[in-house]
């Protein structure tokens, strides 16, 4: 029985990675849920929007690195993040002006919007692959670890250590700041309140003199900015690969629906639940159980519920469970 070591082991392999991943998913899901709430469609281009923002941030990072500007020990990408946000926002506003506005004025069916967003996704996927290429890009610099497994072991004298990558901490801190700012905006400012009103009841909001075009514009700005931040953080924490952003769409959608469509709090909650289930289910609990059990005993197999190859299956099962048990999500969202 060795609870301290067991807990350290679990923190290192489950808790810390899941918190960082959950923060990235939460940011992504927030962007999707805002578009769901205001424009009322599933934006399939959101993954590519994340990729686009991350790409711009990477290009800016390379520029800064070449110029020798950095904020060591923090990664240069943090300094370049505003460029990524601006690029994503510009892209979102352009697509809205030239693509989505037309259907909004026609009051098209949400499915038509979704199909159109597939077209946008295609265009953005092409652009990204032409500009930065289809391969892995590494752009992380600065200190790698906040403290390593060895530091932790030496400090505590435990057998198992907890290592925290600097990017993981940055992910969580940035996500916290962004989410706090977003909730402040939605709760306290005039435009935030107008957005919530519009999301709740479009006609009533229009009667109260809220300008829908402006609301839609703010929604796109917020969604694109969140996408750029989420994409850059994801790339910084793992690695930037253009094709990954189509796959990450599934956990993001699962988080959105789980939280309740159009519910920002739900999106954050959903992101963390999806991330924690994904990491827990695909973690091999063998060593963890060995620490908890009597001395010298270890479980026979790996005690891994699901191979990491099937991590999509976790999001999918969550999605299906939500659809079957509570289609409105945890916090009652929209159901059309």
């Amino acid at each position: 029985m060795d609870i301290a070591n067991a807990f350290a082991l679990l923190s290192n392999f489950v808790l810390v990675p899941a918190i960082a991943y959950g923060a990235q998913l939460a940011l992504g899901a927030l962007g999707v849920t805002i578009i769901f709430g205001i424009l009322r469609f599933a934006n399939f281009a959101h993954g590519e929007m994340m990729s686009f923002g991350a790409m711009a941030a990477i290009l800016a990072t390379w520029g800064l690195q070449a110029a020798g500007i950095g904020i060591d020990p923090l990664p240069t990408a943090l300094l370049a993040l505003p460029v990524g946000i601006l690029a994503a926002v510009a892209m979102a506003l352009l697509t809205d002006r030239f693509v989505f506005r037309f259907y909004r004025r026609k009051r098209s069916n949400p499915i038509v919007f979704a199909i159109v967003s597939v077209g946008v996704m295609f265009v953005m996927a092409g652009l990204i692959r032409i500009i930065i290429g289809p391969d892995d890009q590494s752009f992380a610099d600065g200190a790698r670890f906040l403290f390593t497994v060895r530091d932790f072991r030496e400090a505590t004298g435990l057998e198992q250590g907890i290592g925290v990558k600097q990017t993981q901490l940055i992910t969580v801190v940035v996500a916290l700041v962004v989410v706090a700012a977003l909730f402040w905006f939605l709760q306290k400012t005039r435009w935030g309140k107008a957005m919530r009103a519009y999301s709740d009841d479009e006609d009533l909001a229009l009667l109260s003199g809220i300008n829908p075009e402006k609301i839609v514009m703010i929604a796109w700005v917020i969604s694109a900015a969140l996408a750029a931040i989420a994409g850059t953080l994801y790339g910084l924490d793992k690695t930037y690969k253009p094709f990954i952003f189509l796959q990450i769409l599934l956990p993001i959608f699962a988080a959105t629906i789980l939280g309740g469509i159009g519910q920002p709090v739900g999106a954050v909650l959903g992101g963390f639940i999806v991330a924690f289930s994904e990491v827990t289910v695909t973690y091999a609990f063998k060593r963890f159980l060995a620490y908890l059990g009597p001395d010298g005993w270890a479980p026979e197999g790996l005690v891994q519920l699901l191979s990491t190859d099937y991590k999509f299956a976790v999001s999918f099962v969550i999605l299906v469970a939500v659809l079957l048990v509570r289609p409105t999500g945890i916090i009652r969202g929209k159901v059309i």
Binding site: V116, G119, F122, L246, L250
Partner: protein
């Protein structure tokens, strides 16, 4: 309006003939074969979207299931694998059935409040029971001659049988996913199908005992003769003499492609005939009535959810048939080649461009978009050459842009989808 159909089809035929004359006949027939398969996929999607307005983003998964069926039906069984692991596999199947039965039984017997807990408990117990038999069995299968087999093999039946089987397997998956997500809001179906398709691909990619995974299954038997046999067959040699063809091996390649084309045309014709009959029957009118106003249709006593499920399953089956045909044409199953942009979203562009709700349109869309997809590569390279003209040959930017020219096809497909949706939402051949 009806004049448009022969006009467009004639133009498409002329373009393919032009490819044959100016590039080569092998290329032309190669494009034609994949056009035919794409057309069948587009028909499947058109049933779901055009007839019923269902947004399926998991076409890739259903096509891959068809490909898997081709392997499981036609490859020779690996006897050794069955003998070392057959018993354990049977036991794991048995424990799966037992688990499901126990859960169903428990859900009937226990009180409502206890039900979820008992279900979860039984699920966990069943999971460990199944993996107790299953994991060692798969390890043993994968250990058998990993470089050549390492999987169970198939049934060794004729490959043509795999086409309907592929349809059935895909229909089964479609029924399951439709049962869960139809009847809720429309984009839930899209997201659920997106998920199921990723899972199907993951299963095919990582379950090596089933499909050899990323090691690929190659050498799937053909329904048509092999080139090497043809060049030695007397009847074929005399055939080439009658036509006065000098290059025999080239002729053999084209002959094989023509055989495939004939088979595919036969399948397309059958599915097309059925689809047209269905669309013009009272059933087809009911489907369109549901699509256009589901509340009114429901008020008239139509069971909207059941009809949606029906048409969804049918569309998935058609995609499964096309997937089996695709694996047959390739002669191999390569799980890594299944990417959503190519197998899901491209099919959507076909249906939207061709004309949703019109079968002739969907088929035409399949032809046009596949042709453009193939030809976008030289087109993109040419475009990049033109825009990089002012740059010096060795400039990094010019080389970078040239390397990216393959991806012009994504840009082109996105642009086509957006332009059609905006300016001609009914497509090339609108619904009648």
């Amino acid at each position: 309006m009806t004049k448009k159909v022969p006009l467009y089809y004639g133009a498409m035929g002329l373009i393919l003939i032009a490819v044959g004359l100016f590039q080569s006949w092998a290329v032309a027939f190669g494009i034609l074969n994949l056009c035919l398969i794409s057309a069948i996929m587009a028909l499947g999607v058109n049933m779901q979207w055009g007839y019923a307005g269902l947004f399926n983003v998991g076409i890739m998964g259903f096509t891959a299931l068809g490909g898997l069926a081709a392997v499981l039906v036609s490859m020779a069984p690996v006897g050794e694998a069955w003998s070392v692991a057959g018993g354990d596999l049977a036991l794991s199947l048995l424990s799966l059935v037992a688990t499901v039965a126990a859960i169903l039984f428990a859900r009937r017997k226990f009180a409502r409040t206890l039900r979820p807990y008992v279900t979860v408990l039984l699920l966990i117990a069943g999971y460990f029971l199944i993996s107790h038999f299953f994991l060692p069995a798969t390890d043993r299968i994968e250990a058998i001659d990993p470089a050549l087999s390492g999987y169970l093999g198939g049934l060794g039946l004729p490959i043509l049988l795999a086409w309907p089987v592929g349809g059935l397997v895909a229909a089964g998956a479609g029924w399951l996913i439709g049962k869960i997500s139809l009847g809720l809001r429309a984009d839930y179906l899209a997201i659920a199908t997106l998920g199921i398709s990723e899972i199907i691909i993951a299963v095919i990619k990582y379950e090596e005992w089933l499909s050899r995974g990323v090691k690929n299954v190659t050498g799937i038997p053909r329904p048509v003769p092999y080139e090497v046999d043809l060049v030695e067959a007397d009847w074929f040699l005399s055939l080439t003499r009658t036509f006065g063809v000098s290059d025999v091996s080239d002729a053999a390649g084209i002959f094989v492609k023509i055989c495939y084309a004939l088979l595919f045309i036969a399948v397309l014709a059958v599915i097309m005939w059925l689809a047209e009959r269905a669309l013009q029957s009272p059933w087809g009118r009911m489907m369109r009535a549901i699509r256009d106003n589901r509340d009114a249709a429901a008020a008239m006593g139509k069971d909207v959810k059941a009809r949606h499920l029906q048409v969804f399953v049918l569309g998935c089956a058609v995609c499964g048939v096309a997937g089996a045909m695709l694996a047959t044409l390739d002669g191999q199953l390569t799980p890594t080649s299944y990417i959503p942009l190519r197998y899901t979203f491209l099919i959507w562009v076909m249906v939207i461009l061709g004309g949703s709700g019109n079968n002739w349109g969907a088929v035409l869309g399949g032809f046009v978009i596949w042709f453009l997809w193939v030809q976008a590569e030289p087109l993109g390279a040419w475009f990049m050459t033109v825009i990089t003209m002012p740059l010096p040959e060795e400039s990094g930017l010019a080389q970078h842009l040239m390397a990216g020219s393959v991806y012009m096809r994504y840009l082109l497909m996105g642009a086509i989808l957006l332009l059609v949706m905006r300016f001609a939402p009914k497509g090339l051949i609108p619904e009648r």
